[in-house]
């Protein structure tokens, strides 16, 4: 066993995802405190360019092979299992993204390692690993301590600075061949499906009026559209609104939707679940209206109103008209 910290890199469409740099930054801190090395693990096909961007790591272990050019829960977990079995790092950081969700728990079972999920912070003091997880839709945090020697931590994107994970250094790269087990896969990647273009691009708007399940019914959308019009903005939404097909997918803000950074993000009837916060926490001005004084959205908003959204929205529209 080593004191090393491994970071599982994530990339999509030829680019490293921001979360990879966040994990490299945090991983650097943990590795330094543990007196271990920081190692990036990169899987893909034709990814030499990406290796070079992970200079924050002391080393990158890379499996670069056309067989794993595309993410596949089966092949990726098999590859990672080999790498982690060989090196036995103390801590493995996995992004709690769609891809990472397929990997972290798989490795926990296959390598018999503890897993702490939904991490927003991690520390290594005197060799003890402590992890803070964000649970209950952002309403409670739980601090866990590692009992044994090694663990896997899956980290919510947006928890750390990605700037801290960038460096101009060029890391040492160790190329590894894919394991033999890849010949026997139970999952096959077929294709990527790109989103259809929407009527508006919410990532390019200055003003977003963003609606959540608190609006209760599709029939209430026109009222909110009116407010968006009066403010010179457009409507965006949380996931349930889109799952209900009240607004198109292109309006969804969050983890599986779009990341937005408008000048004004007016969140009405949105609780502020971690998956939503991921998509909007960098907005310049966030104003939230919610009837629940404990809604997590208020931890991220600059201004908050506890109250009925329809009262506030009605008054705002009235005044903007007049």
């Amino acid at each position: 066993m080593s004191q090393d910290v491994f970071v599982i890199a994530e990339h999509l469409m030829g680019n490293l995802e921001d979360v990879t740099f966040e994990l490299l930054g945090k991983g650097r801190e943990l590795a330094d405190n543990l007196d271990g090395s920081l190692v990036g693990v990169l899987l893909g096909g034709g990814v030499e360019d990406l290796n070079r961007q992970m200079g924050k790591a002391d080393k990158v272990i890379c499996i670069d092979h056309e067989q794993i050019a595309e993410f596949n829960p089966d092949s990726y977990s098999k590859c990672l299992m080999e790498v982690l079995k060989t090196h036995e790092p103390k801590v493995t950081l996995v992004p709690n993204t769609s891809m990472g969700m397929d990997l972290a728990a798989a490795l926990s079972v296959d390598l018999d390692l503890p897993l702490v999920a939904y991490a927003v912070d991690a520390s290594a003091k005197n060799g003890t690993i402590a992890v803070t997880s964000q649970l209950y839709g952002g309403k409670m945090n739980v601090e866990s301590r590692l009992e044994g020697d090694r663990c896997i931590i899956s980290v919510i994107a947006g928890s750390f600075s990605s700037e801290d994970g960038k460096s101009d250094n060029v890391p040492e790269v160790e190329e590894v061949s894919p394991p033999d087990s890849l010949t026997d896969l139970k999952i096959r990647f077929k294709r990527l499906i790109e989103p259809e273009a929407g009527d508006v691009d919410i990532t390019q708007q200055d003003i977003l009026v963003s609606v959540g399940r608190g609006i209760q019914s599709e029939d209430n959308l026109p009222v909110l559209q009116k407010l968006a019009d009066a403010l010179g903005g457009v409507l965006s939404a949380s996931r349930p609104i889109v799952d209900n097909k009240w607004l198109p997918k292109t309006r969804q803000v969050g983890k599986s939707g779009l990341k937005v950074k408008p000048k004004l993000y007016l969140a009405v009837g949105i609780s502020g679940a971690p998956e939503h916060i991921e998509g909007m926490k960098d907005a310049e001005l966030i104003i939230a209206v919610n009837s629940d004084p404990n809604a997590p959205i208020f931890d991220y908003a600059h201004y908050g109103v506890v109250g009925d959204l329809f009262d506030v929205v009605g008054q705002l529209s009235e005044k903007l008209k007049g």
């Binding site: 397929d102 096959r188 996931r239 799952d243 908050g304 506890v306 903007l320």
Partner: protein, 255 residues
Amino acid sequence: MNIIVPIKQVTDLVEELEVDASGKDLNREWLKYKINEFDDHALEEALCLKEESGANVMAIALDSADIEKSLYTAAAKGADKLIKVTGDFGEAIPSHVAAKALANVLESLEYDLILTGVQAADDRDGQVAVLLAHYLGLPHVSVVTGVNLQDGKAIVHKEYSGGLMGEFEVDLPGVLGIQAARQTPRYAPVSRVRQAMRSTELEEMPAGDVSVAVGTTVQRMFKPETSDGAQMIEGSAEDVANQILNILSERGLKQ
């Protein structure tokens, strides 16, 4: 085709949550529970597959407060069979333990497809779907929004970010963590739930040996600190609106 849908109850997040005297768990005395919303989606997708090509749908849950009502609700919506897994697990079941219990029971059942909810709001040690799949040695895909059955395989859509999706072909049996069903989950009126309570058999099965190491311990539970939380705007709706418009004017955001 046998489809299994594991369901679980989670605390209603609209409620105020408090930490208990131990400082490590929720005060569960007054908590309201409801079915994990992603389980409604998993069940809906299973019922859609049943309607499309014929399937036997079984809902299964670990014993917990009020779980029978959720199971009978699943029956009222169209599930054919119900199983309650009994055992000596507390209120806050670690994901590894839940997955192991489900895996033990599933080993004696026949199934082609397991559709779980993608995640729940309380799983500190990971998503049960993936753990379950690996205890059973089955393939799994999580964050799934579309399932099609073709030639004994499942063609699934997995959501990444920004609306981008990956399409995969999964050998069966397999486990899929459902994020959203193809249509809004159906609703079962109370009368139909009552009827299901009378007409549907609920089978109990023991969880067996669930001694798996979680490997980490909870030190404390706490509400996120809000040091840089929102400045609250108070007053009547009209006052509030005026204050918001002032803030927007100051920042040049008002037309």
